[in-house]
């Protein structure tokens, strides 16, 4: 199988998965249940993606915990996204210097 075929198939499947609902779903959803479901979905997806994966990100549980803790505290204080994201990384790096 040629590499171009593999890449084409990967890209086409991934694009269609995104494009079909985004382009062809025009109506405002009326069902209260379904609207509630869609309101909660982003938080559910992000939470499920973050926990427990975040503890495996830095290849070291202690630096990952340090980064996570700093991110949680700064997010609780409602700091901007970029501040929280970079502070998480910075504290994981600093923690890494000590272990």
């Amino acid at each position: 199988m040629s590499l171009a075929v593999y890449i084409f198939v990967m890209a086409a499947v991934t694009y269609l998965i995104r494009m079909v609902p985004f382009t062809f779903f025009r109506k405002k959803i009326k069902s209260r249940f379904f609207r509630s479901f869609l309101y909660y979905i982003p938080y559910a997806v992000l939470s499920a993606m973050t926990i427990p994966a975040i503890f495996y990100t830095t290849h070291n549980i202690y630096t990952a915990i340090a980064g996570t803790a700093v991110a949680v505290v700064l997010a609780f204080l409602e700091m901007p996204l970029i501040v929280v994201a970079l502070a998480a990384s910075g504290s994981a790096f600093l923690m890494g210097l000590f272990i």
């Binding site: 890449i7 079909v20 609207r35 509630s36 926990i51």
Partner: protein, 234 residues
Amino acid sequence: MKNNFLRGMSHGIPIFLGYLSVSFGFGILAVSKAGLNVFQASVISASNLTSAGQKAGIDVIAAGGTIIEMILLQLTINIRYSLMALSLSQKLDRSFTTPHRLLASYGITDEIFAVCSAQKKHLTPAYMYGMIFIAAVGWIMGTAMGAAAGELLPASVSTAMEIVLYGMFIAIIIPPAKKQHSVLFVVIMAAALSVVFKYCLPFISEGFAIIISAIVSSTAAALIFPIKDEEVTE
């Protein structure tokens, strides 16, 4: 128009930084595992713009797998984008015509979805293009650099950068969870289910585990805490 594009770009800076580091790892992997060159690895990143799907794709290419396997794997890992696309379709501005939708759907990734759905305003095409542009530049550049240079960064820096995107996710979910019990419920339930999948049901792929955790907890929250009308129209 121009303003929205720039606003999208500035909101995409954390995504750019995160992608730069994550795709660097993908670039290294594409060369070492599947024997691709810089150009081929970059083409995969430019045409797919997804992390888990590309890593799985490299596995199939390296193993000389079948096309059916490639299709099923991409479907399983990436089907969550359908849910995200559906969710975003509800908050698009009137200016989002069909050609804009066809173009912008290329850039629905976990991170772009996360930042877009945190916006209070309706989404305009220019805003999404700005964010997609800077994110894609980071993704492709990181891939090319990773494939070309192997280890450019010291390991202490590159591993610390892996946490950037997750830090951003935390910054998105915590403020609303603090204010609304329903969101707190969803966040805790989805995290708990995801932990159960990881440690008790490890044979279920990560993509499926995320989909099931998210659907179950959102369904439960929708039944227990149905939203009032003003929350969606915002």
